[in-house]
């Protein structure tokens, strides 16, 4: 990597939370418009963040707070590795560790809603982990490497080869964005049978941390989606934005469904599609030879 690229990666990493926050703001604005409301200003997520940052923190257990930091910092590590074009599998492994921190945070206090949320969060990971790993494998089949650099070296857009994988990623994105029909462990809005699930016991500054982490996560997954059309990059960014809006529309036209349904869809449709995609690539012979 040249120093110019390094600087660019660093800048992208620094911008990630800003972009994530703005996207969340757009999310809230667009959702409100879809619901016939005017909605909050685009900058609302930042107001929320700073307000929470300035509030007192109530503590149920100290460990709870430690894991919140772990969740944030590890997600940041994953995002950092993403912009530094590292190994996709490792990035997803780190992301899984970060997700586990959130789960441990929820488990670390003996509170029923927290625990229920944690169990559902585990199920969500069970649903999207295989999709992400397999999507990385599908990308590998075309580019011949798990390194993100390879995607850029590949020189062609990936989407025409990996349409089914792309669809599967949408499921993972929906789960990660905590949007209907997959907002089962902790949705962005309240009014849920398990209160706010894994977030329930957090307050003040540590809730702000989790919000921030969420922004990073969105950027990471949308970044991964961008890779499907990395050359030229702006098309990829447009696609990512389009997919983001698509998620919002789906969120607004569907009810929250249950974990069994989620697991069924992500395993049957998600994994099934990616494997079908791999078979297609294999049959077409356009995979990397060893």
């Amino acid at each position: 990597m040249s120093s110019g690229e390094l600087g660019l990666a660093m800048a992208a990493f620094m911008l990630a939370p800003v972009v994530g926050g703005l996207l969340t703001g757009i999310d809230r604005k667009l959702s409100a418009r879809m619901q016939g409301r005017i909605g909050p200003p685009i900058l609302q997520p930042f107001y929320d963040f700073f307000k929470l940052w300035g509030k007192d923190t109530l503590v149920t257990t100290r460990e709870n707070l430690i894991w919140a930091w772990g969740y944030l910092l590890l997600t940041m590590v994953a995002v950092f590795m993403f912009f530094f074009q590292q190994d996709l599998l490792i990035i997803f492994f780190v992301l899984a560790f970060a997700g586990a921190c959130l789960i441990f945070g929820a488990f670390s206090v003996r509170a029923p809603y927290s625990h229920l949320g944690a169990h559902r969060e585990i199920l969500q990971m069970l649903a999207y982990e295989p999709i992400l790993l397999l999507a990385a494998v599908a990308v590998f089949l075309k580019t011949g490497t798990f390194m993100i650099t390879g995607v850029f070296e590949f020189g062609e857009p990936l989407l025409p080869y990996l349409p089914l994988t792309f669809v599967a990623i949408l499921i993972a994105l929906g789960i990660k964005m905590r949007k209907s029909p997959f907002d089962i462990s902790a949705c962005e809005h309240a009014h849920q049978e398990i209160v706010r699930g894994v977030y329930t016991e957090y307050s003040g500054r540590h809730l702000a941390l989790i919000t921030l982490t969420h922004w990073f996560e969105i950027v990471l997954i949308l970044g991964f989606i961008t890779l499907f059309w990395a050359q030229p990059l702006w098309i990829g960014l447009l696609i990512a934005l389009g997919v983001f809006v698509l998620e919002l529309i789906i969120d607004n036209i569907s009810a929250r469904l249950k974990w069994s349904w989620m697991l069924g869809v992500s395993w049957v449709v998600g994994i099934g599609f990616i494997i079908a995609n791999m078979v297609l690539i294999y049959c077409a012979g356009g995979f990397i030879r060893v």
Binding site: F50, K51, G54, V195
Partner: protein, 146 residues
């Protein structure tokens, strides 16, 4: 702290607890969230969890059983926080003042910052009350040192 104070005004999250009212104020409170009034314009969210909320919105009079619930909810909110008594009953007991199980207004249990009269309260009045509560909230400091 300028940024944080500004944000505080822009993002009041409320937690709603219905003490023992007749639901009239509750549904008006909910109506505030919906398209006609849309308080999310002002960053107001009904967050449903005291640990995340800034403003405790209470409707209905306090009775013998829910008094301690109200107190618990208040205690579980992080500072700075404000309490709004929505409706005449929440303010004073209202039409239920002579009921045997009613203690009276919610100020018998928690300190109230804003009283919003009305039976039932109109959504406009609730929005007005939130604005008042925000002013009060801004005067309060978090208990944090520094």
């Amino acid at each position: 702290m300028g940024l944080i104070n500004k944000s505080r005004v822009k993002s009041p999250w409320i937690v709603h607890y219905c003490c023992g009212g007749c639901n009239g104020c509750d549904i008006e409170l909910l109506a505030c969230l919906t398209p006609l009034y849309d308080v999310e314009r002002f960053g107001i969210l009904n967050i449903g969890n005291p640990k995340h909320a800034d403003i405790l919105v209470v409707t209905g009079p306090v009775n013998h059983r829910n008094a301690r619930v109200l107190r618990t909810l208040y205690d579980q909110m992080p500072n700075p926080k404000a309490v709004m008594a929505v409706g005449t009953c929440a303010s004073s007991g209202g039409v239920f003042h002579n009921c045997y199980n009613v203690l009276g207004g919610i100020d018998k249990v928690v300190p109230v910052d804003v009283y919003i009269p009305g039976c039932a309260v109109r959504p406009e009045a609730i929005i007005d009350g939130v604005v008042l509560a925000l002013d009060k909230l801004n005067l309060k400091k978090s208990t944090k040192v520094g």
